[in-house]
């Protein structure tokens, strides 16, 4: 692996086989994620985005190809995932949810409480530490989800449409918060989304995938200075231009996927 690489994916193919059918979810993916990069992936629904993320997280095995993830610090976990959907454990309090990754790694209770509390504060949840998830709104639960992934301090953060189920206002606020925390952490992040706005706003680069079977259609650089502000960014000509490019690439694929 090269020095500045955090992840390298070579000729990755994933086929789901069942008795009656064969679904090629991913085909010949080659991708290199830079150290400290925020990589956004967009693609039509069903093109294999979640599958790619699950393979990176070690939850699924690839059919062919190789994945290399650089471990800079052997005491840290390789990856942490913010899942699509409501993945907060309902039987744990907010603080216990955020501590989960640390508890699994047997970080002493005192230490993990300290770390989890600091992430709760970052997410504006310090007053809800001892609430149960059913007492929280959808936006707050998703904050817990994000805090849980950050608190486990992985080499790579993986996020699968984390704000997909939220309403517009909550999504805007959470995007801004995520960006703030991420900019402070410098973590290599792979972020899946179906929102072009979100991909441009958050990403250093945007990977556009093809409809099934998922391949990489294009990789675009987002040359917008950080720290970013959504309102300001949306009014720039670069944003409009990039949006148009991504949309044109995606449009073809969405139309293809419908056939």
């Amino acid at each position: 692996m090269e020095k500045k690489e955090a992840i390298r994916i070579e000729n990755l193919t994933k086929v789901f086989k069942s008795r009656s059918s064969e679904v090629v979810a991913l085909k010949n993916i080659n991708l290199s994620v830079r150290d400290g990069e925020f990589l956004a992936i967009v693609g039509p629904s069903g093109c294999g985005k979640s599958t790619l993320l699950r393979i990176l997280a070690g939850l699924e095995k690839q059919t062919e190809g190789n994945i290399y993830i650089k471990a800079k610090d052997s005491t840290k976990p390789l990856t942490a995932v913010v899942f699509q959907g409501d993945a907060v454990f309902p039987w744990m309090k907010v603080i216990e949810n955020v501590e989960y990754g640390l508890r699994i790694r047997r970080v002493p209770p005192h230490e993990r409480r300290r770390i989890a509390t600091s992430y709760l504060r970052l997410m504006g949840l310090e007053n809800f530490a001892h609430y149960y998830p059913h007492q929280l709104s959808g936006g707050m639960k998703q904050r817990v989800n994000v805090a849980r992934a950050f608190a486990s301090d992985p080499e790579i953060l993986l996020m699968d449409e984390p704000f997909g189920a939220l309403d517009e206002q909550n999504r805007l606020i959470l995007q801004q918060e995520l960006l703030r925390i991420w900019e402070g952490s410098g973590k290599t992040t792979v972020f899946i989304t179906h929102s072009i706005d979100e991909a441009i706003f958050l990403g250093d680069r945007i990977v556009v995938m093809t409809a099934q079977p998922g391949r990489i259609k294009a990789i675009l650089d987002v040359d917008l200075a950080r720290p970013r502000d959504m309102l300001f960014m949306k009014s720039t000509p670069q944003f409009a231009e990039l949006y148009k490019k991504v949309w044109e690439l995606l449009r073809e694929e969405v139309l293809k996927a419908r056939k």
Binding site: R54, F83, A87, K93, R103, I104, Y132
Partner: protein, 276 residues
């Protein structure tokens, strides 16, 4: 579904504010009063019907007659004695059935080989009516306490087992992915996801089991018992003592109410995270 039906459904689910809710005080009191008065009214009607001979008191008795039998039964300690005998059998039988039910249910839910091994046996033996095996239980365990406890235990066992297993199998796979993605070991997965995730279903099984325990105590005390509320009922039947029979039924109703209250109370402590 049309609009009105939708509205009705939402009212049924408590989502739409009805007129009553806007004047909560007056109607709230009225509703409480109503649910308090309706059983009383029923008793009054019963008493009147009995008094004027419209119903046969030899068969249906009357509230005042039952009350007159109830007091001496209570003050003599006889009723308390029989109640405690039954309560002891119910609790022991419940524990003897529920504990292995939870343990085996968890194992079957967590380990596919255990499930593969035991599921056919459970599937074949579960539908046998528990009353049908009572004679066998009597032959094996004799006429003493053991046979009564075992009769209750076996009824409780299956309900708890099946619900516990379903509780584990129905845990959202997303939670398993979360545990796995954070690198949880098998043991960590059991303690942080499988057990807490199955708890609501385990409690559903325990509650069903308690209902069955009350059913079976009456049957268990039919044969070869010298005490217990169930025995009192059968004894009153032999003696044609309708009042005593009603008194025993009242005790059974109270027991059912208390046991389900206790289980609810424990559930609240063990599952504080459940959205009620």
């Amino acid at each position: 579904m049309n609009a009105v039906e939708g509205q009705l459904n939402q009212i049924a689910k408590g989502k739409v504010k009805t007129c009553e809710e806007r004047r909560p005080h007056l109607t709230g009191i009225l509703l409480h009063l109503l649910s308090f008065l309706s059983p009383l009214l029923l008793l009054v009607i019963w008493e009147i019907l009995a008094k004027y001979g419209i119903v046969d008191v030899r068969l249906f008795s009357s509230p005042s007659r039952i009350f007159k039998t109830f007091l001496p039964l209570l003050s003599s300690g006889e009723l308390v004695y029989h109640t405690l005998m039954s309560v002891q059998r119910i609790i022991l039988g419940f524990l003897v059935g529920a504990i292995p039910g939870v343990v085996l249910g968890l194992s079957m839910g967590l380990f596919p080989p255990v499930k593969a091994m035991l599921e056919p046996i459970v599937a074949v033996t579960f539908p046998i009516p528990k009353l049908a095996i009572m004679p066998l239980i009597l032959i094996i365990f004799g006429l003493g306490e053991a046979s009564k406890i075992f009769t209750i235990a076996i009824g409780v066992f299956y309900l708890v087992l099946i619900n516990t297993m379903a509780g584990v199998l129905n845990i959202d796979p997303l939670y398993m992915d979360v545990a796995k993605s954070f690198g949880a070991s098998r043991l960590q997965f059991y303690t942080t996801v499988a057990l807490p995730g199955a708890l609501p279903m385990i409690f559903a099984g325990l509650k069903l089991g308690m209902g069955t325990a009350l059913l079976l105590i009456v049957a268990a005390e039919l044969s070869a018992a010298r005490a217990g509320v169930g025995w009192m009922i059968w004894r009153s039947y032999d003696m044609f003592d309708i009042e005593r029979m009603f008194c025993s039924l009242i005790v059974l109703a109270l027991l059912g109410y208390i046991f389900s209250y206790v289980l609810d109370f424990i559930e609240r402590i063990v599952i504080p995270w459940k959205n009620r």
